[in-house]
């Protein structure tokens, strides 16, 4: 039995067309994927000059990220409100906010903001867990500097969980060396940011 060539072509086209259309339609959607932060926290590990360390933590983290291309770059901002940073001791909180972070000096001091995030290895579409170096630009204490660290992304039921770790020098961000009665914080502090994000439409003006 012999299929006419035209019938075969139509059958092939009918088979491939939906997939092709899907790909065409899907490409912009995946390239412009938007992630809205639903919850998270930022933890700053400060090492003391006398040994030991303490954490300053806050869950006042917000933002929206938009994946701008398949190369792992994201537009948008991760923003951390520094006023609720808590070290477990009131005196230490006051020193941290008022003397060193100087949160009263304005918006660029009150918040830390991470922009221009780029994953060195983009999140593969079919990967549930992914670890990669990343880079970005951090605004802190009114100063913008490039930072780099490690991020671990895990995907579950349409949600994204991100754990990013990096360290920074206080001096680079013009933060005076914290010292109080002979006890100080070392210049290099570690930052651990953890957040959950849900995919969805960008809230107006929220992605940039």
């Amino acid at each position: 039995m012999k299929f006419p060539r035209r019938v075969a072509s139509i059958a092939l086209a009918a088979t491939l067309l939906p997939a092709t259309l899907d790909l065409v339609a899907a490409r912009p959607a995946s390239a412009e994927k938007i992630w809205n932060l639903t919850s998270g926290n930022a933890r700053v590990r400060c090492r003391l000059t006398v040994g030991g360390s303490f954490d300053a933590a806050t869950s006042a983290i917000s933002g929206t990220l938009r994946q701008t291309g398949p190369d792992g770059s994201y537009a948008g901002t991760l923003r951390v409100d520094l006023v609720p940073l808590d070290t477990g001791i009131e005196l230490r909180n006051n020193h941290l906010r008022e003397t060193y972070l100087e949160v009263g000096r304005g918006e660029r001091f009150r918040h830390a903001a991470l922009t221009g995030i780029e994953l060195v290895v983009p999140l593969p579409p079919d990967s549930a867990r992914h670890k990669t170096p990343f880079s970005g630009t951090l605004l802190l204490h009114g100063v913008e500097r490039a930072i780099a660290g490690e991020a671990e992304l895990s995907r579950r039921e349409g949600r994204l969980r991100v754990q990013a770790e990096f360290s920074l020098s206080l001096k680079v961000f013009d933060i005076p060396p914290p010292r109080y009665l002979g006890v100080g914080v070392r210049d290099e502090v570690g930052i651990l940011v953890t957040f959950d994000a849900a995919s969805g439409a960008s809230p107006s003006g929220g992605s940039r």
Binding site: V50, S53, D55, I89, N94, Y180, L181
Partner: protein
């Protein structure tokens, strides 16, 4: 059989009474491992001594006012800046400023102790457990530290429990030499704790020796070696033994700490050589709760038993600002001597009304398996650290 039990009871009673009276007649040293709950996993944040206890640094004094005391703090209320050189919390109420390289402290502990031992009448005692002058001088990388006070025993003769000189070679490395209590396990403020009495690390068990401290990131290693217990060396009573200690602490987080310790003492005319190994774990899940557990094993060559064990926990809860409740179950036993087992339960309350002031109430219930004796001790203490 009845005679044996009665004899054991009577001997047990006598031993229990002797142990309790001896223990509570001496001077305690203070340390606050409860500060792990405030994210201070190292003694050196508040104390000059790397193994804790003794004179507070200006930073430690500031914390005692701002974070421990129920009243008198200024951090949140404004007013003069915390840490102003001649603040209330400074040495002798500001007589010596916190910016002075010389810091002094006066440690007084008027105390009341009541011991109840079945079958023996013991009078309550009111006495001055402690009257010590402590001094530290710090300049650049050097610290010189010393204390002098009266000993509650031996007719109140003068004693210097600690005197040492330390040099900080770098941010990570420090060395000290002199008389000090070697770093081992967790140093509970209560010197009668099994974990301190068991390995002979009570209030007057300082050694002469040299200690090296290495602090790198989350790790702290402290090694010491010396000719032995300082008082025994001074008395020349043949009880001093070459002593080596090692303690390694790893901070799993600022509120979670694990430490392994070793303490070796050589043979003397009176005691065989012994080795203690200990594992300590401190955890503060929230800022008002901290729990420390220490497990200890002692090996020594004795005819009756080679091994002795101690397990102790201390859990403290800050129920109100400046008010801590404390519970401490402890047990010690030897592997071949079931009669040597002692169980203790301690309930305590610590009230810090204002900087320099500390009121401590402790109730001890001991069960000596030998003689099946139960003893109770109540200790009330006003601790003034000026």
């Amino acid at each position: 059989m009845i005679v044996t039990v009665a004899l054991r009871r009577s001997l047990g009673t006598g031993l229990a009474a002797a142990a309790l009276l001896g223990a509570w007649s001496l001077t305690p040293a203070s340390a606050e491992p409860i500060f792990l709950s405030k994210q201070y996993p190292r003694c050196t944040a508040c104390h000059y001594s790397p193994s804790g206890g003794g004179l507070l640094t200006p930073y430690g004094r500031s914390l005692s006012r701002e974070e421990i005391s129920a009243f008198g703090r200024r951090g949140a209320a404004g007013g003069a800046a915390p840490g102003a050189p001649r603040s209330e919390e400074s040495s002798l109420y500001g007589a010596i400023g916190s910016d002075s390289p010389l810091q002094l402290g006066l440690d007084l502990r008027p105390s009341h102790v009541g011991v109840t031992v079945p079958g023996i009448a013991i009078d309550d005692r009111n006495f001055l457990m402690n009257l010590d002058l402590q001094a530290a001088w710090q300049r650049d990388r050097w610290t010189a530290y010393g204390s002098v006070g009266r000993k509650p025993t031996r007719g109140g003769e003068l004693v210097s429990y600690e005197h040492w000189v330390a040099y900080r070679a770098s941010d990570a490395l420090s060395v000290r030499g002199g008389r000090f209590l070697p770093a081992y396990g967790v140093r509970f403020a209560d010197h009668t704790s099994f974990t301190r009495e068991g390995p002979d690390l009570a209030q007057d068990d300082q050694v002469y020796g040299v200690e090296v401290g290495l602090s790198i990131d989350r790790s702290l290693l402290q090694l010491s070696a010396g000719p032995g217990r300082a008082d025994s060396l001074i008395d020349g009573n043949g009880r001093a033994a070459f002593t080596v200690s090692g303690r390694y602490q790893f901070d799993l987080s600022p509120r979670t700490v694990v430490a392994g310790s070793l303490l070796y003492r050589g043979k003397t005319d009176f005691r065989p050589r012994s080795t203690h190994t200990g594992l300590s774990f401190g955890y503060a899940p929230v800022r008002w709760l901290v729990t420390w557990t220490h497990a200890d094993r002692q090996l020594r060559r004795l005819a009756r038993s080679d091994r002795a064990y101690i397990v102790a926990n201390q859990t403290s809860v800050e129920v109100l600002r400046g008010v801590w409740l404390r519970v401490s179950p402890q047990v010690r036993w030897t592997d071949k001597d079931p009669w040597g087992e002692v169980r203790r339960m301690v309930y305590g309350l610590d009230f810090y009304p204002r900087t320099h002031w500390h009121v401590s109430l402790s109730y001890y219930r001991d069960h000596f398996r030998f003689g099946d004796q139960h003893t109770k001790t109540l200790m009330a203490q006003l601790h003034l650290y000026l």
